[in-house]
Amino acid sequence: MHRALLDLVRGPWPWWAGGIAIGAVVPLLLFLANRHFGVSSTLRHLCAACVPAKPAFLRYDWRKESWSLFFAAGLVAGGWIAQHWLTSGPRDVMPLELFSFQALGTPRGILFMVVGGFLVGFGSRWANGCTSGHAIMGLSLRRPASLVAVLGFFAGGLFVTWLVLPAVLP
C-alpha cells in the first residue's frame, strides 16, 4: 500500500492532480502566511537586494518582502527533492542542445536562454505579475486586468511558437 502510493507520486502526474496541487498554493499562502501567490516579484526583490547602483524602481526596503525570497529558496529546494527522491525515470523536460552552457556560444542558445529570460523578467515587471500572480491569483480574484495580462501572455507565446520557432529551429 505504502509502496504503491510512493510509485504513484513518483510517476508523472495527470493534469488534474497537478492542477489541484498547484491551486492549493493559493489557500496555503493566504491562510498560513496571509500573502498573495506570486513569484515574479522575487526577481525585483533580488535586484533590489543585490545590485548596488539602482534606479528608483529598485530603491525600497526589500527586507519587508523577505518572505518571498524564502519562498523562492523553497522552490529551489523543492526542485531538488522532486528530481532526487520523487522521480521514476528520465522525462523529456527540454531540448538539452538548446539549454546548455555550450549553447551559449551559439545564436540559438543566446536566443532561448538569454533573450527568453530577459523578456520574462522585463515583461513580468511591466505587466506587474507573471503566471502565478496574474493567471492563477489574479483570475481567482476575478481581476479584469489579470485577464488582459493572460491574453497578452498567450499572444506573445503563440507568436513565438508558431512564427519564430519554425524559423530558428532546424
Partner: protein, 138 residues
C-alpha cells in the same frame, strides 16, 4: 520570522509540484501553445478553480489567516496598457525559455544548471525595466 519559515515550506511544496505536474517543462509549454494537449489547460483551469473557491470562501465567510489576521484581498491597481504590453513581452519570453519565474527556480534546484543563465537574464530584464520604466506606457 514565522511567516518566512511558512513561506519556505510552501515554496518547497510548490517546487516539487511544478516538476511533478510538468508545468516547469519547456516541452509542456510548447505543447500548450501548439494546442497539442489538454495538460497545461487542465492544470491552469483546475488551479484557478481552487484559487477562486478560496477567494469566495474568504469573501463569503470572512475567514481569517492563521493567528487571526484579517485577509487582505484588495487587488493591485489595474494598468491595462502595462498588463497588455508587458504581458505580450512576457509571453514571448515564456515560450522561448519555456520557464516562467517559478519553474526557473525549481529547475535550477533539480540540477538543470543552464537555467541559471535564464534566471540571471530575467534579473537583468527586471533591472532594465527599472531603468526605462518612466518612458513606457502604463
Amino acid at each position: 520570522m514565522r511567516r518566512n519559515l511558512v513561506a519556505l515550506a510552501i515554496g518547497v511544496y510548490f517546487g516539487i509540484v511544478l516538476l511533478k505536474s510538468e508545468a516547469a517543462y519547456w516541452t509542456r509549454i510548447q505543447e500548450m501553445f501548439r494546442f497539442g494537449s489538454i495538460h497545461m489547460y487542465g492544470i491552469m483551469g483546475t488551479a484557478v478553480a481552487i484559487g477562486a473557491g478560496t477567494v469566495w470562501l474568504v469573501q463569503r465567510f470572512g475567514m481569517r489567516a492563521l493567528g487571526g489576521e484579517a485577509i487582505e484581498l484588495a487587488p493591485k491597481p489595474a494598468q491595462y496598457k502595462a498588463q497588455l504590453l508587458g504581458g505580450i513581452v512576457f509571453g514571448l519570453g515564456w515560450s522561448l525559455s519555456g520557464a516562467c519565474p517559478g519553474p526557473m527556480y525549481s529547475l535550477i534546484g533539480a540540477g538543470f544548471l543552464p537555467l541559471l543563465v535564464v534566471l540571471l537574464s530575467a534579473l537583468a530584464g527586471t533591472y532594465a525595466y527599472g531603468l526605462v520604466r518612466e518612458r513606457l506606457p502604463h
